[in-house]
Amino acid sequence: MRRFADLHLKPSLEDLGQVRRMITKSAELGFQMVGLSLPSKIGIGEVGRLGKICGDAGVELISRVDLAPRGRRELLNDLRRLRRRFEIVNVYCTSKIVARQAAKDRRVDLLSFPVAKFPKVFFDRAEAELASSALACLEIDMQPLLSLRGFARIRLLSVLRREVAVAKRLKVPIVFSSGATDTRFLRKPQDFASLGMLFDVGLPLALDALSETPLMIVERNRQKLSPDYVASGVRVVRRRDCCLSG
């Protein structure tokens, strides 16, 4: 049976009641893992408290940070500072320079793009080529699709369709997330997957975007963050006292 992950919940962390409601609702709807967008300066205690809320609801917590750097240097500094503290790193690309740097940096897991900057589309062929070789994924949030109406939604669908076509052509994995700030914007995984048809993502690919791809990213990063990780394909299997040291 498929396991589903929603990598992007955006509740206000000051309102723990709302956090609890959203996590419980996600669990009820059939998600096994939820990613909470956390502030970069969050303490270990607070993450533990959120983990406990998730544990009570029967879902796994994925710690995630959203970076929205203004320039290349700021992005590199943020990555250096935060990469080892969070399981998922998403970069919100507000300019082409940031988008290019994020796409070629292997420390970045997810790329997301502003929906309001049309007709500027940063996720073009060159961007996708870089992302494809650096194993970054294109993240699509569903909340704007549910909250926008009329021409704004038409424009959003047009941008998404173009981005998805480029991603498919260059084999950049796609991740669907709710991006929900409220329980009103949470749906079952199958319902999110069905929304994919609005921008030419077929059901099998849409289901992968909610299960296989996010789970693969989380597993890969958890391996990298484990103390046994040495390098890609190399890990510590067993530790013993060194016979030469005595």
Partner: protein, 106 residues
């Protein structure tokens, strides 16, 4: 013509009628897929369980993905904030009832 039956639940703070759900799904279908798409769906309300807040809709099999997408896109029903979740989909009412009973939805 092959059909599909969908058990859907309405989640709202205010009471919602089956007719309102049907109209909301129809409107969403027309907004997203136009009149041509909506005409393919052949959408109808089959059952209305007000107490348990769930309804049974019928559509053509060909239009099922469109109907699911339209249902998922709803955030309000008759200007009342609401979310519609598809509980089960089946090819016959009998099988739908069995599935919903086994999932303790009735």
């Amino acid at each position: 013509m092959k059909r599909r039956y969908l058990a859907v639940s309405a989640e709202s703070n205010e009471p919602i009628q089956g007719k309102e759900v049907l109209d909301a799904v129809r409107n969403a279908l027309t907004q997203l897929f136009g009149e041509y798409g909506a005409s393919q769906a052949e959408l109808a309300l089959i059952r209305n369980n007000k107490q348990k807040h769930y309804f049974v809709l019928r559509c053509s099999r060909r239009a099922l993905p469109m109907v699911r997408a339209s249902t998922a896109s709803l955030t309000e029903v008759n200007e009342k904030p609401a979310v519609i979740h598809v509980l089960r989909v089946s090819g016959t009412l009998k099988a739908l009832r069995k599935k919903t009973v086994s999932a303790k939805l009735t």
